[in-house]
Structure formats: structure tokens, C-alpha cells
Assembly symmetry: C2
Homo-oligomer: 203 residues x 2
């Protein structure tokens, strides 16, 4: 099997982008190839198409599987394992977000928490801790939000995205309706000490 110029251009670009992102170039290219391929491909075909060694492809596929970004399937009449990407692009985004959170964000949050708990060794440490807390709270806020939003079905998500900044108009609306919203505005970066997270909209 040969690589069409179109697919070649895409895999090359994707590999390049991947390497800026902590994903290595070959892994990126393998993913790109599977992404645009209509049928699932076995490892040796991938190696042949992209010109990588068999073991390199094997490593790459293992990595992609650990990210849950490629699926393994068996085709009738063929003993080899075939690989393909997730079909639903929104699902890809969700999986990516989850894995990144698990691998990078969560460990970072726990390091930050530990450091914030330590007794400061001086004025400098005290300042550092306030900065760390700001970072921690911000990351946590964004993560909670994204965890939450990820659960939405695709239609809701699309509608929300299309709304963009105009969602603020909805917020205003909510704040003006006393039966639904309390009309208060959170101060920036408040610590949400009561843990309520504006539950009042839940009906």
C-alpha cells in the first residue's frame, strides 16, 4: 500500500505538531495515518506505509492504546491485530482531556497541595505559597468545569460552543430572575468555601 500525497502531508504535519506537544513524532504520524484511514490497519502495514521499523510501530501503538486513542480489533479471516482510531471526534476530545488530566493535571494539583500545606520557611515562602494557591485554585476550577462539561451530550455541547461569549447574556438573565438565580456575583477567585457551586439551578 502506498501513501497518497494528501495523507502524507497530513501525517507529516501531525507528527510535527505532536512533537511540539510531548508526543513523539512517529507516534503522531501513526495516529494521523489511522485517523484518516477508513479501515483498521495491522502493525506491519503501518510500518511499511510510514517506513518505520516494526518495533517502533509496535511501541507507538502501545503508547496510543495506553492513551485509549486507538482501538484494537480482529478481522475475520486474519490473525493479525488491526488498529483504528475512535470514530466520533467528540469522543476523541473527551478521552484526550481525561487522560491528560489523569497524567498531568492531577499529579500537579497534588504537588501544589503538598507545597501549600508546608510550613513556610520565611517571608519569601509565604509569598510563594499564595502564588501556588492561586495556581492551584485556578487549575481546580477549570478542571471541575471541564469534567462537568464533558458529560454533556454532543448536541448541548455544540450549542454551548456556538453561543460563545454570548453565554454571558444568559448569565445576566439568570441573575435578573430572582426565582432562579440569587443575583449575586462571585468575587474573582473566591475560594468557594461553602462548596455549593451554585447548585440552585439544579432542578
Amino acid at each position: 500500500m502506498q501513501l497518497s500525497p494528501l495523507t502524507e502531508a497530513f501525517t507529516l504535519h501531525f507528527g510535527e505538531m505532536g512533537s511540539r506537544w510531548g508526543i513523539n513524532r512517529t507516534v503522531g504520524q501513526i495516529y494521523a495515518l489511522l485517523y484518516v484511514s477508513e479501515r483498521a490497519l495491522p502493525a506491519d502495514e503501518i510500518a511499511e506505509i510510514l517506513g518505520f521499523s516494526r518495533s517502533n510501530v509496535s511501541l507507538g501503538l502501545k503508547e496510543l492504546q495506553s492513551w485509549r486513542l486507538v482501538r484494537l480489533q480482529h478481522l475475520p479471516g486474519d490473525r493479525r491485530e488491526h488498529f483504528s482510531t475512535l470514530g466520533d471526534i467528540w469522543q476523541i476530545v473527551r478521552v484526550l482531556a481525561e487522560e491528560r488530566r489523569r497524567r498531568e493535571i492531577d499529579p500537579t494539583l497534588s504537588v501544589l497541595r503538598e507545597l501549600i500545606m508546608e510550613t513556610p520557611g520565611g517571608e519569601a515562602d509565604r509569598y510563594a505559597q499564595t502564588r501556588l494557591r492561586e495556581m492551584h485554585d485556578l487549575i481546580e476550577l477549570i478542571m471541575r468545569w471541564s469534567e462537568d462539561v464533558q458529560k454533556l451530550d454532543t448536541a448541548d455541547l455544540t450549542q454551548l460552543l456556538k453561543l460563545g461569549g454570548r453565554v454571558v447574556a444568559l448569565l445576566e438573565l439568570k441573575n435578573r430572575l430572582p426565582l432562579i438565580g440569587r443575583g449575586r456575583r462571585e468575587p474573582a477567585m473566591s475560594h468557594d468555601s461553602d462548596g455549593s457551586h451554585d447548585q440552585e439551578l439544579e432542578t
Copy 2:
């Protein structure tokens, strides 16, 4: 000047995270150090504190400046240039998002557009192009949204984040109010051919 254990732990972790992200380890550490430092630091102090060569620090600072993540300032009575991070953490997020878009997303979108425009060289290319289009449209949708949301002031943004998935309740509300919403639901990944982006809420 000496590095407190707290700051050291933070810089090390941050450097590690950075290197998973395409930012090199030393650049990450420099940023982390500045982030938790109350006063701006000159390059030679940074080099001494972190134990890097003077030129490495210089390179790193240049890189950070090109990302608009550190600011240069002159202190009275000191000829040296001093560096510090942005004070407002939300601003940091905004700047980061903008730069990443400029450097990575926009080029990717334009590659995708080019490839989608090409005349397909066969059935396989035709399928590949539909996949590329899906990816392109998704990225563009998310980018438009984030561009939009970034313009919100911090209070609105915080409120929105706290709301999380419960924002859907607002969407439902909007869809139920005939004077405000049209009550229609976009099909998933529709191409928004009229370019209206639900303008009706703009009052």
C-alpha cells in the same frame, strides 16, 4: 541568594511538566522561579539560583518573552534588566491561550484547509478529506468559542466556570423562552452555513 526547599520542589516539578509539553526543562524552571518570586530578578541571579549557565538563562528568558509570559523592567539604581511574570493569573491564561493559538492552532487549521481543498486522488482520499474536515470544523468551533470567552471579564468568567455543566439548565431555559431563543437545537457538527452563531441573544 538561596533556593528554599519549597521553591526548589516547585521549580523542579514545573520544569518536569514543561518538558512534557514542548517547553524545555530549564525554561520551565526559570518561569516557575519568577512566578513565585515577589520581586523581579535579573538574569545573573536566576543563573546563580538555578545553577544554569548565564547564556542558557538568557536564551530561556528570550523564549519566555517571546511568549509574552515574562515582563522586563528596570529598577532605579540598577542597570540590569529585571524579569517578572504577569501578576494576574487570569491574564496568564489568556496570554498562553493566545500564543498557543497563534503558533500551533492557526497553522494547523490552514494546513487542514489546504488539504481539504485539494482534489482527491481516489476513494481513500475522499474519506480522508471528510475526516480532515471534521477535525477542522471541531478545532475552529472550539477556537471561536475560546476566543470569545477570553474576552469576558474575570468575574463573568469565574461565574461561568463555577456553573459548570449546569449551564445546560440555562440553555434549556433559553430554548423554552420563545421571545429570546428560537427553541431549535443545532444538529451535532452542523456546518453553521449561515454564519449567524445564534446572534439573537445579543441585545
